[in-house]
């Protein structure tokens, strides 16, 4: 498959950080090592030929049973060139943390809180890593695949 310009630049620049790339119907995706994301994102954001200046989405996936269980997924958009890229970083359950990108995009703040709240992935260097959707007393992370589906933790009132 033909590599898009961005993916080519990325693999040239970070040969050791990129685990794999694909570009199905020009849907650029790169799977990267989680320890190198800061350099990769800084490059993607600031390189004058790329300028992915808009962090559109940040979420996570739980692949329970896989070697590295979680995957944090970032979607970037370049307002200048009208191009998009998806970056995925694998996070193992044993070492459930990744660097926060709030220093690059302030908009990542609440997204990271959401991922922390629902998946329990910690973001190193996040200014205010609290739960955002669930309440403080909530135990566990409900979007993890091993969260019991019928479990109820009401804040007040009788247990349903």
């Amino acid at each position: 498959m033909k590599k898009s310009n961005t993916l080519k630049r990325l693999t040239e620049k970070f040969p050791n950080s990129i685990i794999e790339t694909h570009s199905f119907r020009s849907d650029d995706t790169a799977v990267v090592k989680k320890n190198d994301i800061m350099e990769i994102f800084t490059f993607l954001r600031d390189d004058p030929d790329l300028l992915y200046n808009f962090m559109m989405d940040l979420t996570a996936v739980d692949y329970m049973g896989d070697e590295s269980r979680f995957e944090v997924v970032y979607h970037l958009y370049s307002l200048k060139f009208n191009t998009r890229i998806r970056i995925k970083a694998k996070v193992a359950e044993s070492e459930c943390s990744i660097d926060s990108i709030t220093s690059l995009w302030a908009s990542a703040n609440w997204f990271e809180r959401e991922v922390y709240d629902l998946y329990g992935i910690h973001f190193n260097g996040h200014p205010d890593l609290r739960r955002i959707l669930m309440y403080e007393d909530f135990k566990g992370h409900p979007l993890r695949k091993d969260y019991p589906i019928r479990k109820r933790q009401p804040l007040i009132g009788p247990i349903n």
Partner: protein, 189 residues
């Protein structure tokens, strides 16, 4: 004989020596005899001030209900008050999450009595299809509910039907039904 004495005499007659003839007729058309309780209930059922606790998609249906086509005004329940202290019918319109539950309880407790609660839509009734970690499985686990209206969302006709049922319920209320007091659960936050 003054009018008060006349009413007293006739009432006494009606109670102690009942006659075939309706005693209230003796007073002419300008005076109606009734019980205070039923007059108050009658007034209450046609002057419901709503507090729409609208949290989700059901609120759209609530809007159409208030609009000219379905016109809740016809049933004396037209005026939404956006402070619970001026409202007497709490409409819980939409999904209630566990995080929202303390707020709902607080709103309920802030309303002055007499007050009634309508669970509008299946989410408020039972949690609906949100059988998950976040959703309260029916607001009656938190506060007392007077009418349940199923449907996702309910048709405005169903809500009107529910409102009429509530009015029938109000018409049968006794003094002793009030006050009901605070919600049975304690809101932590």
């Amino acid at each position: 004989m003054g009018i008060i004495d006349k009413i007293q005499t006739i009432t006494r007659q009606a109670i102690h020596e009942p006659k075939e003839e309706d005693p209230s007729k003796l007073l002419g058309d300008s005076i109606i005899l009734t019980q205070l309780e039923s007059v108050v209930d009658w007034a209450r059922k046609y002057s419901l001030f709503l507090y729409p606790f609208a949290t989700a998609c059901c609120a759209m249906e609530f809007m159409s209900l208030g609009g000219p086509k379905y016109d809740l005004d016809r049933f004396g329940a037209a005026l939404p008050r956006f402070t619970p202290r001026q409202a007497d019918l709490l409409l819980v319109v939409g999904t209630i999450s566990h995080k929202q539950a303390p707020i709902l309880v607080k709103i309920y407790n802030q309303m002055t009595e007499p007050k009634w609660v309508m669970a509008f839509g299946i989410c408020a009734v039972s949690g609906g299809f949100y059988d998950n970690y976040a959703t309260v499985q029916g607001i009656d686990t938190l506060i007392p509910v007077d009418v349940y209206i199923p449907g996702c969302p309910p048709r405005p006709e169903m809500v009107i039907d529910g409102l009429i049922k509530l009015q029938e319920k109000i018409a049968k209320e006794k003094w002793t039904d009030w006050p009901k007091g605070a919600a049975p659960v304690v809101a932590k936050s």
